[in-house]
Symmetry: C3
Subunit: 259 residues, 3 copies
């Protein structure tokens, strides 16, 4: 049994996610469909890229990931199908797969141009339903990847996740704010292994890493090795996010000193 | 394998949607369950009717659609089961299936009164769980449609979706506001095929139809043939909705002139 | 085919719920996964306990319920696996299973300490993904319950749901506020069967129980036997909740008089 995951900025109130499932199941009634999230901020390409990057490796080989954050729908932008990490990714060519591609030793990207895969009527505004969902569904039934369309030699790429490292100083930024108000940075936890660390994030200074969210007093800021492999700024029993000083894109500087 | 879709105004925070899935799976462990949405505005019968209307045709033959927007639960209102378009629909008799019925060449509607289909204990306030979910589940196992209850000769109907057309002038209204703030009207796109069109929606005037959301400057209003087959008012990279002047039920007038 | 339900306070915007599904399906591709809710208020242990209590009995025998509301993740708190009511429950040992245990004639609780069940790398902050999800998945494939870890003789317990009853007077409280703003109390409806009842909830006084939400004038408060077996305070066509006087934890006093 194969699996298709879906990630969108459609929200939950409308029928957009539901109708894509109808399209998929009509083509492959046996496929399992898993919602990753439909609550990517509208047009939030970087956030979608990070969600996908934090998630895909936990899914089985041959999983198919359908990602529809597509502010350019109906314009000249292309649609990509990518094979990488033993899995398949389908979505608009707007940078959404950047972090997946950055980490792949090899990958094959193709433009989805084979009209046999499309629904008979393609709307101007909903290629998720009319092109991407049926393409994912046909691929889940064994349709040959190389027949989706021509090779895409230069998929659009976002700036890489890497922070700037100069000796003992690491300069990064907040790349994602989660539901609990925790601030996920682009600083890999492994860069701090075996070091003491002083962390500055906007107006907040934190000394050392904590081992759990409740290891400091309630209301106190802490830094911790987060579940996606990056350093995370949190507040015990509260929300660390506090715009405009501390939130998405805030600079985070770490000074590391040998133990 | 059969499929049951679920549409409600239950929101996501409670256990209401989850418990209906438990009831369904206990009766038919093999059925696939697809959430269309649980975020219909509370008591939003017209919105639920539109979501269902925009979605059902993308699902497979014999799909069963369970729709629980039921402000009159426990009162005299009846529960309907409807066969139309090769599919089955179950929900309260409050107009929720109006647009499905309007478009059906033929249909058969029955009152759900066969108590063998009910859970042993029927609560006053949750017929979605106690009557509608088990009815959908039993129908998915092959229970005979004509045994759910007597024929319903006059299901409750909402006003039809049709706009008023007088020569070159079409007067409609906004029937749905989506997650992106786009305003979906009841004016079918095909009425404007081959015409130039001037569109007035509340305080906004738009000349001509666009081909994509980003074909005008960011922040500019546009009109486009939307994915559900109706004219849609949108704002490039923003929300078109702006209450109280421009939102649900705002009048939309189109003047069409031959090219 | 087996089933795993998931209840969390993760919200829907992030990848947390999705990634747990990836972990589960990788271990058992055939299991059905049902979301109960991911919108428990952050750290809302009592609310999660109530959702689970109101739901589990509608699911099939052998259903596995995974509940991740875990403010103490990474601290000394243990993780429990519980067999009760013919089903299995997995979550942190923080009281989340209290109402399930209160109602069980017998149960067996074990600490999840068998590291063979864990993912190879266990993060500090996401045991839902790294320990609880794989444990649930292995149990769904037939892994022996008694091998998850040692017996837990004193699981953490919340105060019981029971109200104080003294003759004709029942003193309870609001234990849950649902999406519609209805206030669910801990007063079992069966305590009022065959009685007249006067109900005081914060500033509101209600005489007698209603049979449906719309049996009083719109905007009027009413009391009704709710779908989870408890008395519920509602407002016809509106939200009964009105903080700070009337909401979660508000005292509710019922005077019952024989008919």
């Amino acid at each position: 049994m194969s699996i298709i995951t879906i990630t969108t900025d459609f929200g939950r109130q409308d029928y957009f996610a539901g109708v894509m499932k109808g399209v998929i199941r009509r083509i492959n009634p046996l496929v399992q469909i898993v919602d990753l999230t439909h609550d990517i901020p509208p047009q939030g390409i970087a956030q979608a890229a990070f969600v996908l990057y934090s998630t895909f490796r936990y899914f089985e080989d041959k999983a198919i990931h359908l990602v529809v954050v597509d502010p350019g729908v109906g314009s000249e932008r292309d649609i990509l199908a990518v094979e990488a990490h033993g899995q398949t990714f389908i979505g608009p060519d707007n940078g959404i797969f950047s972090y997946i591609l950055d980490e792949a030793e090899t990958f094959e990207a193709r433009y989805v141009r084979n009209k046999e895969l499309y629904l008979p009527h393609v709307s101007l505004t909903f290629h998720g339903r009319d092109i991407m969902a049926p393409t994912a569904a046909y691929l889940s039934t064994g349709f040959k990847f190389l027949e989706v369309g021509p090779l895409a030699r230069n998929p659009v790429r976002l700036a890489p996740l890497k922070p700037e490292i100069e000796g003992d100083s690491i300069k990064g930024r907040v790349i994602y704010v989660d539901h609990f108000g925790n601030l996920i940075t682009n600083i890999p936890s492994k860069e701090l292994e075996g070091f003491q660390a002083d962390i500055k994030a906007g107006p907040v200074t934190i000394q050392g890493l904590s081992r759990s969210y409740d290891s400091v007093d309630p209301g106190t800021y802490l830094a911790i090795s987060g579940s996606s492999g990056f350093i995370e700024i949190a507040k015990s029993m509260g929300r660390a996010e506090s715009p405009p000083d501390l939130g998405y894109d805030t600079e985070v500087v770490v000074k590391r000193n040998k133990n």
